[in-house]
């Protein structure tokens, strides 16, 4: 039978397994916003850890990070592990989000900001920031699935067919039972991701004569790629900081992951969630980077580093069955990120935009229905965006994907000072939060466009770095010049202080 048949067969098995899991999750579904979007805050530690892992790690790891390693060497490892080191901040933010989420009944991170700053416009601003920057991020994931299926099937599956499959899976798994179906399918997908990637890396390492031989061949073949700055000039310190800074704060800047800080059912579940994720992230990062290094040795000289993974999978040393399973693993990584983004954006659309700005007296039932409608609408927007970009000529495609991906993470970074202020600074104000988010995002987008068109970066610093500096200064300056919501700040931070002490949190 042809490879196309087996690719379709693998996709069909994957979709069937996901649907069965999602439908099983629906059996325990109750009523209400908290039930649908947060699984009623009763998710166990194992599922919490794996849904957090699958949501965080997308197709970027085995394609983008592996490609970045192929192109620039060990700097890619440092960049991705800097993100993982940033997860140390979970010891501060996880208990804080969890405690106030339970106390005040927050459904989205934006609702937390609106309440803490006593201004619905703060939540709305952060919501718009998420809508603007997460749609392109989701679209890039869809395109990744399309190109991967197209590549593995040797062109038999059109790119747009792969995109449609990813969209339909994401809509189904987020709509069937909300967070329940997303978390359960994420758990399944996280296991697929880690097992398949470890298996295929094992095959590559064995083909290279084991780890000892792999490392010594790497040292002799590509010594310049084992240091930073890279000998070839790919990695420099400005690029490292420009890429690492937005990822360092990913745990609070990206609402699809920070919303998950509301879901563990107990302190024990929180501990399992954090511990499980840290171990998963450590292993998965090393696998992705070693995979990229393997590609350097086995398929040198590629013009486009993003093709390192598909090219490596097409080598005769990788059994066809394993290549297809890995394709499913990477597809799972992309879809588990997209469905979480859709679910979060739908909760944000219903709670922070519809209820917050348009119809404050809406019933919970109607609010939930609005949220469920937002899921396919956002999916269609992301699909349209991905399809439109995929249809552009090659050079224009390159011009659009790179700034979108880079601007997405940098743009979301602009909410970070407001989130820090909410938990740690009683003097923080709503005008400070709004101005810093809006101006920071404008600076990022403006510098991104200038950089893309002219190649110019002021002092060599990346747009996210400049945006963050401007954003932080504005947040502090405007907050000091305006009146804080003293009563709420005292109550919110006072409550946390008391509970943190009782739970031995820090």
């Amino acid at each position: 039978m042809s490879i196309t048949f087996w690719v379709w067969f693998g996709i069909a098995v994957y979709i069937a397994a996901g649907l069965v899991i999602a439908l099983m999750a629906r059996r325990g579904l109750g009523a209400g916003m908290s039930e649908f979007f947060l699984a009623n805050r009763k998710v166990g530690g194992f599922v919490s850890a794996l849904t957090y892992s699958a949501t965080t790690y997308s197709a970027f790891m085995m394609i983008g990070l592996a490609g970045l390693t192929y192109l620039g060497g060990v700097g890619a490892l440092g960049f991705e592990l800097t993100y993982l080191c940033g997860m140390f901040m979970m010891v501060f933010f996880l208990p804080r989000f969890w405690l106030v989420g339970k106390k005040y009944g927050y459904v989205s991170p934006m609702e937390l900001l609106s309440d803490r700053y006593q201004s619905k416009w703060v939540g709305a601003t952060a919501a718009i920031l998420a809508l603007v920057f997460l749609v392109p991020y989701g679209a890039v994931q869809l395109m990744g699935v399309g190109y991967l299926m197209n590549g593995i099937s040797q062109g038999a599956i059109p790119v747009v067919a792969g995109i449609i499959i990813a969209v339909l899976c994401a809509i189904a798994w987020s709509n069937i039972a909300g967070m329940r179906s997303v978390a359960w399918t994420d758990t399944f997908q996280a296991l697929v991701m880690i097992v398949t990637s470890a298996a295929v890396l094992g095959v590559v390492v064995v083909a290279l004569g084991g780890f000892g031989s792999f490392f010594s061949r790497l040292e002799s073949a590509t010594p310049g790629l084992l240091t930073v700055p890279t000998a070839g000039g790919v990695w420099n310190i400005n690029m490292f900081i420009g890429l690492a800074l937005p990822w360092l704060f990913f745990l609070i800047s990206n609402p699809q992951v920070s919303q998950r800080l509301f879901i563990p059912k107990s302190v024990t579940a929180m501990k399992q969630m954090l511990g499980g994720f840290l171990i998963f992230g450590f292993i998965y990062t090393l696998i992705s980077v070693l995979w990229g290094f393997g590609a350097i040795l086995l398929v040198p000289g590629l013009e486009n580093a993003d093709l390192a993974t598909p090219t490596l999978l097409a080598l005769p040393i990788i059994p066809m069955g394993l290549a297809i399973i890995v394709m499913i693993g990477i597809t799972a990584a992309a879809i588990s990120t997209i469905d979480s983004i859709l679910l979060t954006l739908s909760s944000v659309g219903a709670r922070d935009i519809y209820k917050g700005l348009i119809n404050p007296r809406v019933s919970e039932k109607r609010e939930l229905r609005v949220g469920q409608w937002v899921i396919p609408i956002m999916a269609i927007i992301a699909f349209g965006f991905a399809w439109w970009v995929a249809e552009q000529p090659g050079n224009l495609l390159e011009l659009m994907i790179a700034p979108l991906s880079s601007a997405a993470s940098a743009g979301l970074l602009m909410a970070v000072p407001a989130i820090f202020g909410a938990f740690f600074w009683k003097r923080a104000t709503a005008p400070g939060a709004i101005v810093s988010c809006v101006v920071g995002a404008i600076v990022v987008l403006g510098l991104q466009i200038i950089s893309q068109l002219t190649g110019w970066k002021p002092l060599g610093w990346w747009p996210g770095t400049w945006g963050f500096i401007v954003c932080a200064i504005l947040f502090v300056g405007v907050s000091l010049a305006t009146k804080p919501p003293k009563k709420k700040a005292d109550e919110f931070i006072g409550y946390l202080k008391e509970k943190l002490s009782k739970g031995n949190f820090i």
């Binding site: 060990v74 700097g75 490892l77 440092g78 592990l81 800097t82 993982l84 080191c85 997860m87 140390f88 901040m89 979970m90 010891v91 501060f92 996880l94 208990p95 490392f215 790497l218 040292e219 010594p223 310049g224 084992l226 240091t227 930073v228 700055p229 310190i237 490292f240 360092l248 107990s266 302190v267 024990t268 929180m270 501990k271 954090l274 511990g275 840290l278 171990i279 450590f282 090393l286 509970k499 009782k502 739970g503 031995n504 949190f505 820090i506």
Partner: protein, 62 residues
């Protein structure tokens, strides 16, 4: 300094190492035992320190 303050200071120290060691001290070590090994051990240290802190968390008394 409070426990929270010490934890923030430790995190800041880890980030300083992230730049100082691979970007300045190990720039000429063109081996797996250079930046690759450093970043692997460095993040393991960050993960272990997070474990040390969060394993002490307990259910709050009613």
């Amino acid at each position: 300094m409070t426990k929270t303050g010490w934890a923030w200071a430790w995190f800041g120290f880890l980030l300083a190492l992230d730049i100082a060691i691979p970007w300045f001290a190990l720039t000429h070590v063109e081996k797996m035992s250079g930046a690759f090994l450093f970043w692997t051990l460095w993040v393991a240290l960050a993960i272990i320190s997070a474990f040390v802190i969060f394993l002490r968390w307990k259910e709050a008394r009613r």
